[in-house]
Amino acid sequence: MAHPAQRRWYPLVFAIAALVLLPLSVLLLSWQSIDQQIWSHLWDTQMPRLLGNTLTLILGVGTGVTLLGVSLAWLTSLCEFPGRRWLDWALMLPFAIPAYVLAFVFVGLLDFAGPVQTLMREWFGSGLRLPRVRSTGGVILVLVLVFYPYVYLLARSAFLAQGKGLMEAARVLGQSPWQAFWRVALPMARPAIGAGVALALMETLADFGAVSVFNFDTFTTAIYKTWYGFFSLSSAAQLASLLLLAVMLVLYGERRARGANRASNERPRVKALYTLRGFKAVAASGWCFLVFACAFVIPVLQLVVWFWQRGRFDLDERYAGLIVHTLYLGGLAALVTVCVALLLAFARRLAPTRPIRAGVGLANLGYALPGSVLAVSIMLAFSYLDRELVIPLSTWLGGAGKPLLLGSLSALLLAYLVRFLAVAYGPLESSLARIRPSLPEAARSLGVSGPRLFFKVYLPLLLPGTLSAALLVFVDVLKEMPATLLMRPFGWDTLAVRIFEMTSEGEWARAALPALTLVLVGLLPVIGLIRRSAHRNS
């Protein structure tokens, strides 16, 4: 039985959950009628290949991001080797590069007609060829390089939080570094790694931009084809709800695997645990630098080259507007989303009843859907609200009786909220969990309560987590494409919109200008994120 104080959270949490449920219910309503012709066609000619491709992609990207993320996090957080200090933060930079941008850079650079293979043919004749870049391996490589930062970021803070006591205890008990890694550090970091891999896989499942550059057909490309080709939005929505079901299973599995493991809260280490020398040091530097070069240096250099060849001629005064819009939308969305996520995290902590937990779980589902499908569901939901609620209300109030939601800035912000709530909620929940309940209890016994308790006790402790959440949402909104395209008010073009316009015409080199600007704009918050996470252990 819920305590009355707990029940006070109900209306708020349910209202937020309802906001997310609104577009999801559009998906469910699509099952009212089934287009048999489309389904039997998909089933007969497409499904086996699509499911096989999707499964390969999930396995490949899952393994890849785990290997890269964990190995890099282990090296930079526990070992000392040349270059560690800067690679530690540099390895986070690829987070600023959208998946679709890395995809078109890699294909442009490495495909048969690209500069690398052209040079190879000039130097060595036509006998020598690279493996095909537009292949399963190529897609997996690109997605691993864009999504590994999720695992890296989370695993790194988990390793750092483990403190020196445990690993030294393992050492005293005669464990080699490898044994200590396998038996102590890795099991303890598993919840964080699991959460990172889950985020990476959700992104992979929902990705359309990168896979379509490779023309690699997945379940998500089938959703788009059903909508854009067969013009059957309801069949596309049905496919999307199946995808959502799969994602819910993944998330459930991740929660189960996380189990009762809790990150410990020891005193942080001051010095690196293992100082690598000789061959090992070279190998560690080499590995970290290789990843950084492939995921960041090479793509950015290629963008700069394209910018110089083609993009610079497009640079005009309208770019200032694009950048301002992009920053404005990202900033506002981060603010709104973090506030709502904070409310949810507090509700979950102070009133952990079953209905609250269910409401919070639902509110976090928006992240898993392919962007366009979510965008169109939100749009349909908003136009319904406009019709049924806003227009009658506005007429009653003596207004113009015009729709106000669709095409307004607030509708776009709500769409971002629905999509990225989960991104903000994760860091907030875990940093709230680190505050022992005894602390606010002590404050209360000293007579501090209500808003003062929040501002004096919680907020200072939550500030790092809140900042991470805000920066993650900010960067994600910068990169977001489908909802921005569909719901932006007139004149609100952003950098992502410009990238879409260029790539949809196959003008890769000209897309370099908005893409490069986007990466630069996105870098600042990522660097902020890194500085913040570096502070914790200094």
Binding site: R121, G229, V376, R387, G506, E507
Partner: protein, 334 residues
């Protein structure tokens, strides 16, 4: 009571932020043609008439869905898309409003308009054959269909079947040859592929230039753009099927929405867009052919030479689109 109402509406307005106040002398366009290809035309219209033209760009399917969702509370007056297949779909969804205009009828030939007057074409693009000048003699080329022959094994490059341009091309093949023969042709094409299909026409042209394949099928303006950047391109256009039905033509066109808030202003804009003044800007920014036959194409486009164009009404592309996609899937054209 009145005070409460005022307060409430003030609050509502702040929450909503922007309000959709609409001026009388403006036209709102939803466009899947990108900003840089339409803004010059609209700017010219505003300069001439004082009527402002607002637009947003996105893919056609989401735009159509938005028009449908807005229903009677529409913001868009016009839907501007590429490919007749998309316009036909918009017509089927019931989001377009047919209107007849003597100006449009005089300017645009009937095969480039909807028979129902729901939309009209504005510019034409030919989807034609391109070949490597190093490895192919133009005399070896004849028709689209012939690219399915054995002599092209391992030499053909195609774009993905997910692009509507290829779906429309297939649809017209079905209309001409019937389903059975078309499927054979598609299977022949797929068998002749030298590498995986490309995600865009430019990459395909680059592949021919670099020697990965010898022939391909692209829209002419992609060739025009690449040729402008790389004048020494070792790829040329070929006009196929000159002895029979002619080159496959598709278009970019426009339609009035069902609940357009400014229908009269919108109709005037569409009419103006079919006149020589607008046609030149609209077609030339993208190296397309003007849909108005009295207007000469740009010098670059004219340099590609005259050709016989297929006179099949372009709306066939829409009617047979789903059938075409299913067939392409069966043939293994990804």
């Amino acid at each position: 009571m009145l005070a409460t109402k005022r307060l409430l509406s003030a609050l509502a307005l702040t929450l909503i932020g922007t309000t959709a106040a609409q001026a009388a002398d403006e036209v709102v366009v939803y466009s899947s043609r990108i900003d840089e290809l339409i803004k010059p035309v609209f700017d010219a219209y505003t300069k001439k008439t004082g009527v402002s033209v607002k637009f947003i760009t996105d893919k056609e399917a989401p735009l159509m869905q938005r028009i449908k969702a807005e229903g009677a509370n529409a913001t868009a007056d016009l839907l501007l898309t590429v490919d007749a297949g998309n316009l036909w779909q918009a017509e089927q969804m019931g989001i377009l409003q047919p209107f007849t205009s003597p100006v449009i009828d005089a300017n645009i030939p009937s095969q480039y308009r909807a028979s129902s007057h729901a939309w009209t074409g504005l510019s034409l693009r030919a989807r034609t054959i391109v070949y490597s000048t190093e490895r192919v003699k133009p005399s070896e080329l004849t028709t689209y269909e012939a690219l399915a022959g054995k002599e092209w094994e391992g030499r053909l490059c195609l774009r993905t079947s997910k692009k509507v341009y290829n779906q429309s091309l297939t649809a017209t093949l079905i209309e001409t040859h019937g389903a059975e023969k078309t499927e054979e042709i598609l299977k022949g094409w797929v068998k002749n592929l030298s590498t995986d299909v490309f995600s865009d026409d430019t990459a395909l042209l680059e592949a021919i230039n670099a020697g990965q394949c010898d022939v391909g099928i692209v829209n002419t303006y992609y060739y025009g753009r690449l040729h402008q950047q790389k004048p020494d391109l070792k790829v040329k256009l070929f006009w196929p099927n000159q002895a029979d039905r002619g080159v496959h033509i598709n278009l970019s066109g426009i339609g009035l929405t069902q609940h357009a808030p400014h229908p009269e202003a919108a109709k005037k804009l569409v009419e103006w867009m079919t006149t020589p003044e607008a046609q030149s800007i609209f077609a030339d920014v993208n190296q397309e052919f003007p849909a108005n036959p009295k207007v000469e194409p740009s010098k670059e486009v004219a340099a590609w030479g005259k050709f016989k164009a297929d006179t099949l009404p372009v709306e066939v592309a829409g009617k047979r689109q789903a059938e075409a996609i299913r067939m392409m899937d069966r043939a293994g054209w990804n």
